[in-house]
């Protein structure tokens, strides 16, 4: 190993250590930004060090450099534009898109060896096994993430799309992946096996995500994130490059943890999400039929304004409906007005509020809500009995007290104890159901009043009413 090679080795090791430390700094909003900057700096150093290594070896042709620089510049431009212009409500799509390109890049790395090597027969299982895994996992991620991004963006219908033969595909394709991998390992000198694996994985990725409903997106995005990390780690095995292995493994771990957290918060197993469709396990439609008769108490904006203005403590429960209506700024404005009037306000954020893990927190941060006011479920639940008003904006299933009883589709789902507040106001467009497809018993509670409005319009009216009331 030349001195330059050893130096680059240590620089890449230091970069990998900085990635770990950067993630560690993410454990507090105070230091998170520094953590991200450290990680970005380490990445820049790693890229420069690799360029030095390649120059020292002189192994890249002039054309090779040109292609690299052009590709890098083009990709950086696209990434920069997307990152600068994206709206916070569209963050899940963007993260999906970055997942897709990361997975896609990881697929191309073993293909260089598998398709283009001058001595393909010499490729051992050392390269072909992780290569095949990389192609399969990376391609599934690429296709799946693009479909997920399309669903989130609305270009692909968000409802579960079930097509005939989907189950058969899901059963038949994994053995086909194993067979294709064996084929590739035994005969590395042909190019058909990697291409067949690639095609099958594309089909599998699309077929995997299409039947998944919009409510399950936080789980799916987390899972695809874990897949991308794993694909990158496999690319690291192919290249024998520890920096890729470490970085990929870190992302794989983070995606796995988030997948588990999201699935737990929705009271669903990851397997159930992948099979698709809420309520397919029965139950849903049955409990639904009898509940329509109970009466609800509609409120006007003025009624709600008086309740809010006289309250000492208000807990706001924002849900997916708030994000969908892009009403986070209107909510922030209303809360600022209440605070100026001396009302104590905090936000109760359920883990699956929004469309990806932690999405609601980002939306509220964008609306200038200070993060200490954002409270996680376990922290805020004991506070509900002291709250004069719980204001539910666009959240449904996560507030349904039916979850505490067995025998309903939401049973066992961790919920926010909204029904324990002294009074409850729900802003909602109609009595429509949430994803679980059942009535929310909170709405018929005698202490609950319903303010029927679109989240954005409703909050604007409320703010005007509160302002008129407090002068």
């Amino acid at each position: 190993m030349s001195p330059v090679e050893s130096a680059v080795r240590y620089v890449l090791l230091a970069a990998a250590a900085c990635f770990v430390f950067g993630l560690h700094l993410m454990n507090s909003p105070r230091s998170a930004r520094r953590g991200n900057a450290l990680s970005a700096g380490a990445m820049a150093v790693a890229v420069v060090a690799t360029a030095v290594l390649l120059l020292d070896r002189g192994s890249v042709t002039g054309t090779g450099w040109l292609v690299l620089v052009l590709g890098g510049a083009f990709g950086s431009g696209c990434g920069l534009y997307a990152a600068r212009s994206v709206e916070m409500t569209a963050m899940p799509q963007l993260v999906s898109l970055f997942n897709a390109v990361g997975g896609g890049a990881a697929v191309l790395i073993p293909l260089q060896d598998l398709l283009g090597s001058p001595h393909p027969a010499a490729l051992g299982a050392r390269v072909t096994v992780p290569g095949a895994l990389d192609v399969v996992i990376g391609t599934v991620t690429f296709a799946g993430s693009l479909v997920a991004a399309g669903k989130l963006q609305g270009t692909v219908p968000g409802r579960p799309l079930v097509f005939p033969g989907a189950r058969a595909l899901a059963v038949l394709l994994p053995p086909a992946f194993v067979a294709g991998t064996v084929w590739l390992v035994l005969t590395p000198d042909q190019t058909a096996a990697p291409l067949v694996l690639l095609a099958l994985a594309l089909v599998f990725g699309v077929a995997m995500v299409l039947p998944i409903g919009g409510a399950d997106m936080p789980v799916v995005i987390s899972l695809l994130n874990a897949f991308t990390g794993t694909a990158v780690a496999m690319a690291g095995f192919v290249l024998g490059e520890p920096a890729l292995i470490v970085a990929g493994a870190l992302v794989g771990a983070s995606g796995t943890i988030l997948t588990k957290l999201m699935a737990d918060a929705m009271n669903r197993s990851v397997a159930a999400v992948m099979v698709g469709g809420f309520g397919t396990d029965g139950g849903g439609a049955a409990t639904d039929a009898g509940g329509g008769a109970a009466s609800v108490r509609p409120l006007s904006a003025d009624d709600v304004a008086i309740q809010l203005a006289y309250a000492r403590k208000v807990i706001v429960v924002p849900g997916y409906g708030l994000a969908a209506a892009r009403a986070q700024h209107e909510l922030g404005d209303l809360v600022q007005l209440l605070e100026a009037h001396g009302v104590e306000v905090s936000y109760a954020v359920h883990p699956v509020a929004g469309r990806m893990p932690g999405h609601m927190n980002v939306l509220l941060a964008e609306a200038d809500v200070p993060y200490p006011q954002l409270k996680e479920m376990d922290e805020v639940n004991p506070e509900f009995p002291q709250a004069d008003v719980a204001l539910v904006v666009g959240a449904n299933d996560v507030t349904n007290p039916a979850a505490r009883r067995p025998g309903t589709p939401v049973s066992g789902m961790p919920i926010l104890d909204v029904d324990r507040a002294r009074s409850v106001v729900v802003i909602k467009r109609s009595m429509g159901h949430g994803y679980a497809g059942i009535d929310n018993e909170l709405y018929t509670d005698p202490r609950t009043g319903m303010f029927f409005a679109d989240a954005k319009q409703g909050l604007i009216e409320l703010r005007a009413a509160v302002r008129a009331f407090v002068g």
Binding site: N36, T50, T63, A82, M91, V95, G102, E241, M356
Partner: protein, 108 residues
Amino acid sequence: MSLDLSTAITVFVLAVLVGFEVISKVPATLHTPLMSGANSIHGIVVIGAMLIAAQAHGPLGYVLVFVAAAFGAMNVVGGYVVTDRMLRMFRTRPEHGTDHGADQGPRE
């Protein structure tokens, strides 16, 4: 740059464990930036794109390198920039008199 297989697997397993340990301490408030930040980290694949450039022979090889470099660079640059943009919005006290500050310049 070849790495012994057992060493590679050791590195992988230890890194997964370190990842679990570090990431389970991140609060739910920061899960979106965490995921986005982790996303940028797997952009290290751009280094892989550089390394395969050394083996590129002929048009197919160059096309692979171009696409891999473009995808990887988009992942890295976009990921870090958007993560920073999100993290910049997390603050303890709102700044009054500002508009709905998506981009109000850095605050250290």
